[in-house]
């Protein structure tokens, strides 16, 4: 069976490469007849392959207005010399692969990008390197395409003078997969983007968010790693976002979170891993969000809920050695906590059903104290704090009574 599949695959490859060669190939290199990419694009007819050989090409604003494939050989460098943007694609069916695009100048007026797609369909941008390009890959009014295995690395120093690595605006059916995005404002930014998939990307060291959704619906992201960003992921004003198997690691700072949720509805957060974040998930207004099978490990706050959150379910998660498990700033709460494992739970299970017989209250009095007086944090784990926490546990006055896991799991889940 395996052999047959490989055979079919090879055949397909041969056929497809033949097709491109039928359409015609234009070679660009320093010693070739055609020395500039823009010249090649002008001369090409729809469906042609432009093969760019190794070399350093200083060109900007290369307008691709017909279906073409631009392919680099041995990483040719397209250099904007700290000025205008480099590739501007306005046609459908364009493929860009194997290029190294670098040095697009910062502008406060225009969102310059290494590769820009405008009103295009069915594109493919794969295996490219974009270094220091202000915005990396910029899509506006684009449908049906894939951005895969690109490396987009910027030099962002401050938010106001930096762009996003992959920027999507009014898009639909886009797949963003296996990219590495570093040192920009946002790693991946989506605004009015529907039905798209963000998968297996690695987002690190971005000033604002590793991944950022605004007004985007029916999207999903999974198996991504978000590390050391200003905040891991921000999902704002969006509906039906499915988030699974992502790693939110090491987002440290005063306004830093693994995941920020703001005004979102009907989302699923499952099988994710939140470790060593100042705040694992910061929630500001969310309705009907289900959290399950997530690991929250050694975060400052695993989940910090700041009001306006209704009908959320937090079920079957691991809460492992977080400084604070749950923090709630409003007293009204109809969210459900059920069957989670809490490492700081100290109850017992006499009937041996695997669930604790004593309910667990994830909000401690000291939580409340730290909210009021942040400096009090230095008293964390003090005997005095243990004493007041205990007395609060015995007779709750300050902490919301309804935030309670009636049947906490006795054993850590293996996800």
């Amino acid at each position: 069976m395996k052999y047959i599949t490989t055979l079919i695959f090879t055949l397909l490859l041969v056929v497809s490469s033949n097709e491109t060669s039928f359409a015609g190939t234009i070679v660009v290199c320093k010693d070739c007849a055609i020395k500039k990419i823009s010249t090649a694009v002008e001369k090409a007819i729809a469906g042609d392959l432009i093969l760019i050989k190794k070399g350093h090409y200083f060109e900007t604003n290369i307008l691709i207005d017909k279906p073409l494939t631009l392919q680099g050989e041995n990483w040719p460098i397209l250099d904007g010399n700290e000025d205008e943007e480099i590739l501007v694609i306005v046609a459908d069916n364009v493929t860009i692969r194997g290029l190294q695009i670098q040095n697009v100048g910062t502008s406060y007026l225009k969102d310059r990008a290494g590769i820009r797609l405008r009103k295009a369909k069915n594109f493919s941008i794969t295996n490219n390197r974009l270094y220091n390009t202000f915005f990396g890959i910029y899509l506006e009014h684009v449908k049906n395409g894939i951005i895969e295995n690109n490396e987009v690395i910027g030099k962002a120093v401050e938010e106001s003078s930096s762009g996003n690595a992959i920027h999507l605006w009014y898009c639909k059916n886009i797949e963003v997969k296996g990219n590495t995005v570093k040192n920009h404002r946002d790693g991946i930014y989506l605004e009015f983007v529907d039905s798209s998939t963000i998968q297996r990307n690695f987002s690190e060291g971005n000033l604002r968010y590793g991944l950022h959704f605004m007004f985007s619906n029916f999207d999903n992201y999974s198996e991504n790693t978000f590390k050391d960003n200003g905040a891991g992921v921000a999902v704002m004003f969006s509906k039906k976002i499915d988030m699974w198997e992502n790693d939110f690691v090491h987002n440290w700072g005063k306004a830093s979170f693994g995941l920020l949720l703001k005004e979102i509805y009907d989302a699923e957060i499952r099988h994710n891993n939140f470790s060593f974040n100042t705040v694992g998930i910061f929630v500001e207004g969310s309705t009907r969000v289900n959290y399950h099978h997530n690991n929250f490990k050694q975060n400052g706050w695993a989940i910090k809920i700041s009001g306006g959150c209704l009908d959320n379910t937090i079920e079957t998660n691991n809460f492992l050695s977080n400084t604070f498990d749950i923090s709630l700033s409003s007293s009204t709460n109809n969210n459900t906590f059920n069957g989670n494992y809490w490492s700081s739970y100290s109850g017992y299970d006499l009937n041996r059903d695997g669930r604790g017989d004593v309910p667990y209250r994830p909000v401690k009095l000291f939580n409340y104290v730290v909210n009021e007086t942040p400096e009090a944090m230095v008293l964390l784990r003090s005997l005095f704090v243990d004493i007041i926490n205990f007395s609060e546990k015995v007779s709750p006055i300050f902490t919301p009574e309804k935030v309670i896991d009636e049947r906490p799991n006795m054993k850590k889940f293996d996800f």
């Binding site: 400052g300 230095v378 008293l379 964390l380 004493i387």
Partner: protein
């Protein structure tokens, strides 16, 4: 001083109480391992115990040892050695045996559970370091109190009060202060106050390891500077060392001026 230390240590290392103390730690650690095989969870539980219990036991041992060996101390005073050497030697003997109990009782069980190759080794070392420092500091303070008070009951009472003050009351007052003046930026006060209490200091060292994620949520610049770099760790360890020196100076000063 070294000779005195040697005999004190030999005396104490055969003491029933030392065995009880060591056995208690070993039992505690092993039962924690029975409840959870998670190294980090055991370390966290032990940290809470160490911060409270080590100072308490150290003050009790220190005061007890001083009063019990008072007659023998007189004999030592008639020997051709310096007074400070006698008391520092005895104090270090007590501190050493307390630290030894902790290292054996807590330290050894971890070796069997494979701490050496694990990622938790840093936390484990901090646990042992703070435990040892607290043993030294509080047995030293106890010696100082006992030297100052010939009356055993008074000495005992003061020593327990000292522990209670550092372990509980101090933090309560600090929290009260922070809450009352919460409109003012008190981050320096909060940090400074923690440096002045050896238990708080050890706690902060532990926090820096365990709760750094939460600590990074601070808005204050001083906090960020203190906690964000290794500065906090270095400063806390240095302050702990200064704290070790305080009872030593106290013992030196008092013993030179005291009649026996």
């Amino acid at each position: 001083m070294f000779k005195i230390l040697k005999y004190s240590f030999a005396d104490l290392s055969r003491s029933r109480w030392t065995y009880v103390y060591t056995g208690f730690y070993a039992l505690l650690t092993m039962s924690l391992f029975l409840l959870s095989s998670d190294l980090s969870k055991v370390i966290i539980s032990l940290m809470n115990v160490v911060l409270v219990l080590v100072p308490l036991i150290a003050v009790i041992f220190g005061v007890m040892y001083y009063y019990n060996s008072r007659e023998f101390t007189e004999l030592l005073l008639a020997q051709p050695i310096k007074r400070t050497d006698i008391f520092l030697g005895q104090f270090l003997g007590v501190a050493g045996s307390l630290a030894g109990s902790l290292l054996i009782g807590v330290g050894v069980p971890f070796l069997f559970y494979g701490i050496l190759g694990s990622a938790e080794i840093g936390n484990y070392l901090i646990l042992l370091l703070t435990g040892v420092c607290l043993s030294i500091i509080f047995s030293g303070l106890a010696f100082f109190i006992a030297l100052k008070n010939e009356n055993r009951i008074k000495g005992f009472g003061l020593a327990i009060l000292l522990w209670l003050g550092f372990a509980v009351i101090y933090d309560g007052l600090l929290l009260l202060l922070l809450a009352v003046f919460s409109d003012y930026p008190l981050e320096k006060v909060a940090l400074g106050a923690s440096l002045l209490n050896p238990i708080d200091l050890s706690r902060i060292l532990i926090l820096l390891k365990l709760d750094i994620s939460a600590l990074m949520g601070f808005t204050g610049a001083v906090f960020e500077k203190f906690l964000g770099s290794n500065l906090g760790m270095v400063l806390a360890i240095l302050s702990l060392m200064v704290w070790v020196g305080i009872p030593v100076l106290g013992i030196k000063f008092t013993s030179q001026r005291k009649d026996f």
